[in-house]
């Protein structure tokens, strides 16, 4: 069975970390060995670090800083774990949480085998997370402009939500927009992801026929 190698990318605050975590845990539940790697350009210590222990307890290998390892250079420096460079050599699935929009993509250059892929079968797939309730990706032209600026991706995820104010209709409207964008650029919609109570209401597929993946919310336990 080929390994799953995916990097979660997209607009700032689009839900990359939440989706990366949920994807990794879904694979763990399928009995696979999975590593979740934190590749946040600007805030490496603030996304996955506070959740590391919680996620490891669920059987995930998390490549992220521990509080005790970090001396906190703040914004003065970016400190990445050296193991991130060879993370694709991990003998299992690798899910990479890539922070910070378009700039984040450039950081993937640091990872051996990311560009070009190590081999055809095990290429790192870039999955862009889109929340159509975010202003800069809130219409078809805006999503297309964002994709244009970002460069090619291998799939889109519709993660449209408004936090506490989310409605099923809003998620469905997001599905319509994201599917239209995917068709224009010629990539698939991997899924519509939604917090479990909404996913239940959506059913197995969204209005556009994309699979619905329920997600648990972890990031509310992180600082930022």
């Amino acid at each position: 069975m080929p390994r799953v190698l995916e990097a979660y990318v997209g607009e700032y605050a689009s839900g990359k970390s939440e989706n990366a975590i949920n994807r990794a845990l879904r694979l763990v539940r399928e009995g696979r060995r999975v590593r979740l790697a934190d590749l946040d350009l600007v805030e490496p210590a603030y996304t996955l670090r506070p959740l590391k222990r919680t996620l490891e307890a669920q059987g995930l290998e998390v490549l992220a800083w521990e509080t005790k390892e970090l001396i906190g250079p703040g914004e003065a420096a970016i400190t990445l774990k050296k193991e991130i460079v060879s993370t694709l050599a991990f003998p299992g699935d690798v899910i990479i949480d890539v922070g910070y929009g378009v700039e984040g993509r450039r950081l993937l250059n640091l990872i051996k085998g990311a560009f070009p892929p190590a081999n055809g079968e095990e290429a790192l797939r870039l999955i862009m997370v889109v929340n159509a309730a975010r202003p800069l990706t809130s219409s078809l032209p805006l999503i297309l402009a964002y994709l244009d600026e970002f460069g090619p991706v291998d799939g889109l995820i519709n993660n449209t939500h408004l936090g506490e104010e989310t409605t099923v209709e809003l998620i469905q409207e997001g599905a319509v927009l994201v599917t239209a964008a995917a068709r224009r650029v010629g990539c698939p919609v991997v899924a519509t992801t939604a917090w479990r109570p909404y996913a239940r209401q959506l059913g197995p597929v969204d209005r556009m026929g994309n699979p619905v993946w329920p997600i648990e919310r972890f990031m509310s336990g992180a600082f930022w």
Partner: protein, 379 residues
């Protein structure tokens, strides 16, 4: 799939006009608010946790015909703002922590020369560079930080909707009254995500105060108008004293117009929780949960922390002689000192929950309210 820049501009304008709920970080909200307020120029220097204000402004501004300049430091950013304002541009900056300290010199100059400007402060931990995360430790610095009398107006926000609306309001206040005006946020508000409705203020009947050239207004000096003579240097103590007393009188005059607060006090209150900014959200939640348990707990939140709504607070306290006060803040007594100064002469016990550089939850505040009768007398 190239999207033309003009089409993109139109799409951004729609984001501002359509009045739909959007899921945003506080920093983004500020950038959109400055666009909506008609800000012409942002001058800034990067510092966490305000960076995305600069990022989003720099990204959006060209589509709205606005400008951005990253200067070599906060001193330059602040002085450049004043230059922009002098020639009739609406200018702003955003900073935090050590950047806020550096910004104090141009802010003091703005105060002295009565040059308008808007500063967004996303408080981080201090002293010095400390943490990039969060605190309420820049209250005193922002309200009274310069080497003068603190002739400033400071709005302390508690939600993304407020960040949007008070940023717009701050531009109006600054250009209407010519006192440096601040939106005092914090790292949590900067980074957290919640739903907000953006809008064009004109579409809601909000008047936008225009910016006019201050240094070279139309007309020939001495013939058509008085010459403009802006001073921040005075030769004699008496000159400075006369000028400052006029300015102080002007500030006192406008203070009642700009002062804002929120108060929810049940009849016969036993405790009044006092908090500002994001902590006020926790305070309000604590109040509501205690009210549901039958406790007569009230809540007071200064929205303007400068000028401080002292009169409103005194009226509440005067009406309930046995009222116990609880001040909660993510700093070690900066708000508490303001409250005590405003309540000088009262003898109500005042208790505090002071957690410098750390967030405060509703549960912690509720627990502090439940503590055995504590606190020393205000004075």
């Amino acid at each position: 799939m190239k999207i033309a820049s003009t089409q993109l501009s139109g799409e951004y304008e729609k984001v501002l006009r359509r009045e739909q709920r959007s899921f945003m970080t506080g920093n983004e909200v500020v950038a959109w608010a400055a666009l909506a307020a008609g800000a012409d120029l942002m001058y800034g220097y990067p510092i966490t946790p305000q960076n995305e204000i600069m990022h989003y402004w720099a990204r959006l501004a060209p589509h709205f015909g606005r400008g951005f300049l990253q200067t070599e430091d906060e001193l330059s950013a602040g002085f450049a703002m004043l230059g922009g304002a002098l020639v009739g541009k609406k200018t702003f900056s955003a900073t935090a922590g050590p950047g806020n300290i550096l910004m104090q010199e141009p802010i003091a100059m703005a105060e002295m020369m009565q040059i308008p400007g808007v500063w967004i402060i996303q408080q981080r931990g201090g002293p010095s560079t400390a943490t990039v995360i969060y605190s309420q430790q820049e209250l005193r610095l922002t309200a009274t930080g310069g080497n003068g009398e603190g002739l400033r107006i400071v709005y302390s926000t508690a939600s993304h909707q407020e960040l949007f609306e008070y940023t717009i309001k701050a531009f109006n206040t600054a250009w209407r009254y010519r006192f440096p005006t601040f939106v005092l946020g914090d790292g949590y508000q900067a980074k957290m995500r919640e739903a907000v409705t953006l809008f064009r203020p004109e579409n809601r009947g909000w008047e936008l105060v225009p910016a006019e050239p201050i240094l070279c207004p139309p007309g020939v000096p001495a013939r058509d108008r008085d010459p403009v003579h802006l001073r921040n240097t005075f030769n004699l103590e008496e000159e400075l004293y006369t000028r400052l007393m006029d300015q102080l009188a002007a500030y006192e005059r406008i203070a009642p117009e700009v002062t804002e607060w929120e108060a929810e006090v049940p009849p016969g209150p036993e405790v009044l929780i006092i908090a500002h900014g994001i902590v006020a959200r926790a305070a309000r939640q604590a109040k509501e949960s205690l009210n549901r348990q039958g406790r007569k707990v009230g809540y007071f939140r200064p929205v303007t922390v400068r000028p401080f709504p002292g009169q409103a607070l005194r009226e509440i306290v005067a009406a309930s002689p046995n009222l116990r006060l609880l001040v909660a803040e993510s700093a070690y007594g900066q708000l508490l000192a303001m409250v005590k100064a405003e309540l000088y002469g009262f003898t109500n016990p005042v208790d505090s929950l002071l957690k410098p550089g750390v967030g405060i939850t509703a549960e912690e505040i509720a627990a502090a309210v439940g503590r055995p009768e504590g606190g020393e007398a205000v004075s």
